[in-house]
């Protein structure tokens, strides 16, 4: 019984809210104020029972808390004291006492915010252009350095300063060449994995297609096979992408250049937008061009945000419409159609009443 009543109330209130689309009206006003009242009431109850009592009760209630054993019960006193100071806002004469608490809250937030925000800003400053050594050139440099070190050791003696320095240099070059070799190997290993994954995906897709051709195309087996093929294809794409990534890390290539181009665009974007917002010099000449570039980036951002927002709003609307559809059935007494008709009737009556009033006036 309560469940069905709940459905009627939910549908009725949803329609109250939707009635705003026609125009502002008493139904919507009632709904709006109901919402405000219930939200703050609900938040208050939640606050009392889920934050305040568990965090304070454990101290007051000896069985619930371990703090008594740890002699840490006094820790609850500062927040209780500071909390009561906030409530002095209701007594104008002593309202200034609440400043102490606000000072603590604001100070806490500020102290915590500085390092946190600084970390965020750091993430923005990525290195701009990458330089990657290929294995061939690194190997060549290492071989040359090794030869030089051997020659020096032969001519000036292995213990001489020059020979030792040359040896250290040669080792460093060799280390870099080894790293380049590892990157190169990673590319071929990733490539082999990608080939294997792609072959598996092709097989799976072929199998699925054959099954669809043979049997009824809509059967569950066919769906399962298609699903399997899609997942295999996804894995293959992932493996191929990994190969490309490994390749782009192995030597300077078109891919890395594209990455650098992207980074440069990002960099220009960040700075032109910052420029547009923050530099208070007069925007003319090259400054104007640069800040205008910032506007272009901002416009793309706002457009993309709008595009995404559409999806968000439509999703919410979809959610509500599903609820209205589910309440169309006899099991809940045709709540949606009945309430919809009732509300439209009332709105029509109100409309004519207002019209009469206007005419009489």
């Amino acid at each position: 019984m309560m469940a069905i009543l709940g459905v009627w109330v939910a549908v009725g209130l949803t329609l109250f809210m939707f009635s705003f689309l026609y125009k502002d009206n008493p139904f919507y006003k009632v709904g709006e104020n109901l919402y405000v009242g219930i939200t703050i009431g609900y938040s208050l109850v939640k606050l009392i029972f889920e934050t305040w009592i568990p965090n304070v009760w454990r101290v007051v209630h000896p069985e619930a808390g371990v703090w008594f054993e740890n002699h840490e019960w006094w820790l609850i006193l500062p927040p209780l004291f500071l909390g009561s100071l906030i409530l002095t806002r209701f007594v104008p004469k002593y309202a200034w006492l609440s400043r102490w608490t606000f000072a603590f809250v604001v100070g806490y937030g500020s102290g915590l915010a500085i390092p946190a925000v600084q970390k965020q800003a750091e993430a923005t400053a990525h290195p701009l252009v990458t330089h990657i050594e290929s294995f061939d050139s690194a190997d060549k440099a290492a071989t040359e350095a090794e030869k030089k070190a051997t020659d020096l050791a032969a001519s000036k003696g292995a213990g001489s300063d020059e020979a030792i320095k040359a040896r250290i240099d040669a080792d460093e070059y060799r280390e870099r060449a080894n790293a380049a070799k590892a990157r190169k190997d990673a590319v071929s290993a990733a490539g082999a994995r990608a080939d294997k994954a792609r072959a598996a995906a092709n097989d799976a897709r072929k199998q699925a297609d054959e099954m669809a051709k043979k049997g009824p195309a809509d059967s569950e087996e066919v769906h399962a096979a298609q699903k399997k093929a899609t997942l295999a294809e996804r894995a293959a794409i992932g493996a191929e992408m990994a190969t490309w990534t490994a390749y782009s890390k192995s030597e300077y290539s078109v891919l890395t250049a594209w990455g650098d181009f992207t980074t440069i665009v990002l960099f220009i974007g960040v700075f032109s937008v910052l420029f547009y917002f923050f530099f208070s010099i007069e925007h003319k000449g090259p400054v104007k061009v640069f800040s205008r570039l910032g506007i272009i980036f901002l416009m793309i951002y706002f457009g993309a945000s709008y595009g995404y927002t559409v999806m968000g709003r439509l999703s919410l609307l979809y959610g509500r419409l599903v609820i209205l559809r589910d309440a169309c059935y006899p099991s809940v007494g045709f709540a949606t159609p009945v309430l919809l008709v009732a509300m439209i009737t009332v709105l029509v009556v109100l409309h004519f009443q207002n019209k009469d009033k206007e005419e009489n006036a």
């Binding site: 939910a10 009632v30 939640k46 909390g83 906030i86 500085i114 457009g303």
Partner: protein
């Protein structure tokens, strides 16, 4: 008196700010304990802040209802809804607490399963919250129709970026040649750049404000006088 009203709060803000800043850079068991205690205090403190908010809201509605200002009936609705919700939550907790009075864990049952408050949540709060924001879906459609005009190069850019992203979003559009790639690029490069710049600006602003608070230059939180 002036010291109590101004110097003490400024000192509190300075001390708490500077200590929390220092604890970040000095990893020591004491600084960790300090951070943990102050954070726990903030959690417990939040009750008073919410009480303050609830108090002022109720006050404003009561004034409106008492003066019989235009639309006071709606204020009465809000007050009644608030009162009934709180009463339901309280009644249920006291009721369950009485039933299981030997159990120390009674304290969080204010809105447990089968309670009147959970019914209120599911049948009132939930549908109204959903409906209120879903109305925006209608307005975004009419805004698309009325406001999105090719009036200038910037507006054109805005419109094109919106259309590409919208088409890139939906499954069918993702099969149009080039659209998903372009949409992904728009999101991962120019959009990210703009967002980072905005984020950077906000970061600089917050650090500046935080420093101003700690050093007592920013005093807006003290209120008037």
């Amino acid at each position: 008196m002036l010291h109590l009203k101004r110097t003490v709060p400024l000192a509190i803000a300075f001390l708490s700010g500077i200590l929390l800043l220092i604890q970040y850079f000095v990893p020591h068991p004491w600084s960790a304990k300090f951070l943990q205690y102050t954070s726990d205090w903030q959690v417990t403190l939040a009750y008073a802040a919410l009480l303050l908010g609830v108090g002022s809201l109720v006050q404003s509605h009561v004034t409106k209802a008492r003066r019989k200002a235009p639309g006071w009936g709606f204020s009465a609705v809000a007050l009644a809804a608030f009162g009934i919700t709180v009463a339901m939550g309280m009644w249920w907790s006291v009721h369950t607490a009485w039933q299981s009075r030997t159990d120390a864990s009674i304290v969080t049952t204010g809105s447990g399963e089968g309670s009147p408050l959970s019914w209120v949540y599911n049948s009132l709060l939930f549908p109204m919250g959903g409906a209120m924001f879903s109305i925006l879906g209608f307005f975004i459609a009419s805004a698309a129709f009325r406001a999105f005009r090719v009036k200038s190069p910037e507006a054109t850019l805005l419109l094109l970026s919106a259309i590409v992203v919208m088409l890139g979003q939906v499954p069918l559009g993702a099969h149009l040649p080039g659209i998903p790639q372009l949409s992904a690029w728009l999101l991962s490069v120019p959009t990210t750049a703009a967002k980072r710049a905005i984020g950077f600006g906000v970061a600089l602003g917050s650090i500046a404000t935080a420093l101003r608070v700690i050093f007592g230059i920013e005093r807006a939180y003290l209120g008037g006088e």
